[in-house]
Subunit: 381 residues, 2 copies
């Protein structure tokens, strides 16, 4: 694990718009394109930290909104920071808290200076400003810090999108000032503008003028069809500097990752793999498999006998079905691990394909597998 | 791991009534006194099988009642048996199902031949006889099989206790006939008789006449004070052959284990350590610690810095408190592991103490630690 004193991004190669890169941080290296498992409240739900590391993840994400409410940023700092608290020694990215304030908190009220809201847990009053978000993320000990922005659900009127994009730009400036010297950490700006290309262009250009260690595309995967999301990425990514990592926030399902990497994205995060695991769904090369389904009840076959992940081969589908039906913790634990492992396997496959100049073929073959779907019902092969 | 083709018990030494022994089975060796983690529905709740093995457990227990309802004994058999289904290659003991029929099932109706009941899950009608219980346990692939018995809650009238004890003896005979040739497996008889010493004496004597590979003491830890339980053990254990393992069913808390080993018990099982873990309680050399308690909120100290269990030292109490308060799966996972590890550590300590002839001192010192209680509140040391 090569480490550096600075945050650095190196573009190692391309295959069309798809990029193969490497982020170096004092806490470790992140091979890109990378998927970051989400550790909302300081734990990737259902996995031990060493399991997260063993499945190939090199960075995890923490949610500022959740952590500022519980256990509280000052408390995390007093415990030595988020890395020490959760026993994760690799890099950590934290979001700004803004997205969850708007989606989870009660009575969120936005003004020029910041956003006031009440906790969804106990109703307590809180306020987040660009400066305070940086301060909280610094207390948490984040290696990659996100600016506070205003994220708009789609569809939205152009006027609404423009106002949010412009406010986000003003908050980007304030975030950069508050962030100060990087000292091995990175601050990422966030491109807003919804599905309006002119707004995206302006947002990207002005963020690049301000200058960040990386650039996120925000305000996608918020209700729009996948085709629209891809169009926005296709428009926005080329306007970001080749020399810096590009992060598509909150995305997504495996097919979203394939399509976004094809359009030049380097980093992803999403709660979907662990949430799907808790609901009995497994991601595999056959696509998504619903283990609640009675077709698995008597199936002695493993989830995927060709998987390099031992958890996908050691138990029968019938046993996984049984665990899920009984609500046994092990079912949620194993399926969360299986899903994150599949995501990491997919990212590793994409990285290798970009290196070999075979990304398009890899993407096609992967989609063919998903479309073919699951094995025939046991006994009906 | 020395294995044999037969089920064997060897008494290696004693320290007063406390016994140090070894059970050999074709699936592996069990050093006694032993605590068996309970894998109710084919999984020790919250732990991977390798974690169960790594914490020192050499045998696990499966519940016939739960498994016959879900996924069904025939289905388990079709999947290759319980060992293969759950990926546990050590010995497995299954209970007869009788205890849970009386405590969990609906409309249980007992007659001379067996017991009829309805599933607590879906209301479906089922029937369990001594022969059918053996058949189910054989389908599950149990290494140690328990006879069906009638277990009476305490306090109970002598007449009720006597009737249940005598029925259990008739069922013991039928169980032995149904079990047939052992082939490396073992059938255990169960002493009943409640808190009535004469009944316990008769039950033990007649069971020994029938002849089993091991003898359980049933009908304890069913509502009576600990002192009464100890009295019943003290009376019953000496009436069982020294040459055979003695199993106290469904017991207990750490202090119960100390007292029962002191009175000649070799084997235990209980859901308590994993259930307590899911409720935020940790068993330690300081006694039981309630991690929900706000006193841990800012405590950077590990649960027990001297524990050999990495999970008891790698995280702060504040983090464990946070996980429990947030209902995070990792909290339940880790505390279940910590509790089972402490139980195994306690059993290993008892085994070593018996070998060294220092059991009484070990028991005293352990109790002194529990009585001293937890560390002073952080900051008030």
């Amino acid at each position: 694990m090569a480490t550096t004193l600075d945050f650095q991004f190196k573009l190692l190669g391309t295959d069309g718009p798809a990029r193969r890169g490497r982020i170096s941080t004092p806490k470790g290296t992140i091979e890109t394109p990378a998927f970051m498992p989400v550790g909302t409240a300081g734990t990737v739900k259902g996995l031990y930290p060493e399991q997260v590391r063993d499945l190939g993840a090199e960075i995890v994400l923490g949610n500022t909104y959740h952590l500022m409410l519980r256990p509280g940023a000052e408390r995390v700092a007093a415990l030595g920071g988020l890395h020490k608290m959760m026993d994760w020694d690799g890099p950590i990215l934290t979001d700004s808290g803004g997205f969850q304030v708007m989606s989870l908190a009660k009575l969120a009220k936005l003004d020029e200076d910041g956003v006031s809201f009440r906790s969804h847990i106990d109703g307590s009053a809180h306020r987040l400003t660009p400066e305070h978000s940086i301060e909280i993320q610094t207390l948490l000990g984040a290696d990659i810090v996100m600016q506070l922005d205003e994220c708009t659900r789609l569809p939205a009127d152009r006027g609404v999108l423009e106002k949010a994009m412009e406010l986000s730009l003003r908050w980007a400036v304030r975030s950069k000032t508050a962030f100060g010297k990087a000292n091995g950490r990175a601050l990422f700006g966030i491109v807003q503008g919804g599905d309006d290309k002119n707004l995206r262009t302006r947002s990207a250009a002005e963020l690049v003028d301000i200058g960040f260690e990386g650039y996120a595309i925000g305000g996608l995967a918020v209700g729009e069809p996948q085709a629209e999301m891809f169009e926005a990425i296709e428009h926005t990514a080329p306007q970001l500097p080749k020399t810096h990592p590009r992060y598509l926030m909150g995305v997504g399902k495996p097919d979203d990752l394939l399509g976004a990497v094809a359009r030049g994205i380097d980093m992803f995060d999403c709660v979907h793999p662990t949430r799907a695991g808790r609901h009995g769904h497994a991601y595999t090369r056959f696509g998504v498999i619903n283990l609640k389904n009675a077709r698995h009840r008597d199936d002695p076959r493993p989830l995927d006998e060709e998987s390099p992940n031992p958890n996908a081969t050691r138990w029968s589908r019938a046993y996984l079905h049984h665990l899920v039906k009984c609500g046994e913790m092990l079912g949620a634990m194993v399926l969360s691990q299986i899903n994150l492992a599949y995501y990491q396997e997919l990212m590793a496959g994409m990285r290798a394909a970009i290196e070999n100049g075979t990304f398009a073929r890899f993407a096609d073959q992967t989609r063919v597998g998903w479309r073919k779907g699951d094995l025939p019902v046991y006994g009906e092969e």
